[in-house]
C-alpha cells in the first residue's frame, strides 16, 4: 500500500496566530527578567547611596564633636602656652643661676647610698638642719666625714654638730638629726 503524504490540517491563520502568541510570551518573559534585574540593581545602588549618606552624616557628627572638644580646650591651651613660656623663662634663669642647686648638689655628693635624708631645712643663715636615717652608725660617721671632705661637702660645709642619734628598733636603722655649718660667702642671699 503506497504511503500517503501527511496532510496539514491546521489552517495557516491559526499557525500564524500561535507564532505571534509565542513571540508575545517571549517578550513578556524577557520584559519581566529585565524588570527584575533592574529592580535588584536599583535597590543595591540605592542602598549603597543610603550607606554613603549615613557615612557622611556620621563623619559630620565626628567633625562637629571634635571641634567642640577643641573649643572646650582653648582656655586650657592658652594656660598651657603661658606656662610653657614661663617654663622656658625658668629654664633660662636656672641655667644662669645655680645658687639654689649648690647646696643640694654638695649634699647629694656627700650622702652615701645607705644614708637617707628625710628632712632638710635652714635654721638660720649659715646653718642647715638635716635629719634622716642611716643603715648603721658607721654609715652615719661616713656621711659626716664625706660631708666635711674638701672634695665633697667640704666645699661649702666647715663643721657639723650631731644633735641626736637613736636606733629605730623596728627598722634597725640609726635615726639622726644634725646641723651643718656653712662656710661664709658660699651661698649668697638673694635680694
Amino acid at each position: 500500500m503506497p504511503k500517503r503524504p501527511d496532510i496539514n490540517l491546521i489552517p495557516t491563520e491559526l499557525r500564524d496566530q500561535r507564532k505571534v502568541e509565542e513571540v508575545r510570551k517571549t517578550f513578556n518573559f524577557a520584559g519581566l527578567g529585565i524588570l527584575i534585574v533592574l529592580a535588584v540593581a536599583s535597590i543595591l545602588v540605592f542602598g549603597y547611596r543610603l550607606k554613603l549618606d549615613a557615612d557622611l552624616k556620621n563623619n559630620e557628627k565626628l567633625v562637629t564633636r571634635e571641634q567642640e572638644k577643641i573649643r572646650d580646650l582653648s582656655g586650657i591651651e592658652q594656660d598651657a602656652r603661658r606656662l610653657k613660656a614661663k617654663s622656658e623663662a625658668a629654664d633660662k634663669i636656672f641655667q644662669n643661676q645655680n645658687r639654689f642647686s649648690i647646696l643640694l648638689d654638695n649634699l647629694a655628693e656627700s650622702t652615701p647610698q645607705d644614708v637617707t635624708v628625710t628632712n632638710f631645712s635652714t635654721i638660720e643663715a649659715g646653718k642647715v638642719g638635716i635629719s634622716g636615717n642611716a643603715q648603721s652608725y658607721n654609715s652615719l660617721a661616713n656621711f659626716i666625714l664625706t660631708a666635711l671632705d674638701q672634695n665633697y661637702g667640704g666645699k661649702i660645709f666647715n663643721g657639723a654638730d650631731l644633735t641626736s642619734v637613736s636606733l629605730d628598733e623596728v627598722t634597725g636603722r640609726a635615726r639622726f638629726a644634725m646641723v651643718f655649718y656653712l662656710k661664709s660667702n658660699v651661698l649668697v642671699k638673694e635680694e
Binding site: 508575545r24 517578550f27 513578556n28 518573559f29 520584559g31 519581566l32 529585565i34 524588570l35 533592574l38 529592580a39 540593581a41 536599583s42 535597590i43 545602588v45 540605592f46 549603597y48 547611596r49 554613603l52 549618606d53 557615612d55 557622611l56 563623619n59 559630620e60 565626628l62 567633625v63 571634635e66 571641634q67 572638644k69 577643641i70 580646650l73 586650657i76 591651651e77 594656660d79 598651657a80 602656652r81 606656662l83 610653657k84 614661663k86 617654663s87 625658668a90 645658687r99 639654689f100 647646696l103 632638710f120 631645712s121 635652714t122 643663715a125 651661698l187 649668697v188 642671699k189 638673694e190
Partner: protein
Amino acid sequence: MKTNRLTNALVENLYLAVSVVGSLFFVLVLLLPSFSLIPSLRSEIQVKADEFKDLKIKSSRLNSLIANQNTLKSLFQPPLIFTEY
C-alpha cells in the same frame, strides 16, 4: 474602535507593559539619581574624613600639651626650702 484595540493590546501584553513601566520607574527614580549622586557623596566623605583627621591630630597635640601642663604646674610649686638663698 481604536481605543478598544489599544485596550485589547495592553491587556494581551500586560506583563510587557508592567515590565516597561516598572523598569522606567526603577531607572528614572532610583538608579540614575543614585548613580549621579554617588561620586559627589564619596568626595564629600573624603573631605570630611580628612578634616576629621586634621582635627584629631590637633586634639592629640592639645592633650599632650595639657599633660605637659601638669608637669609644668608641679615645676612651679613654691620652693619649700632655701627660698632666701
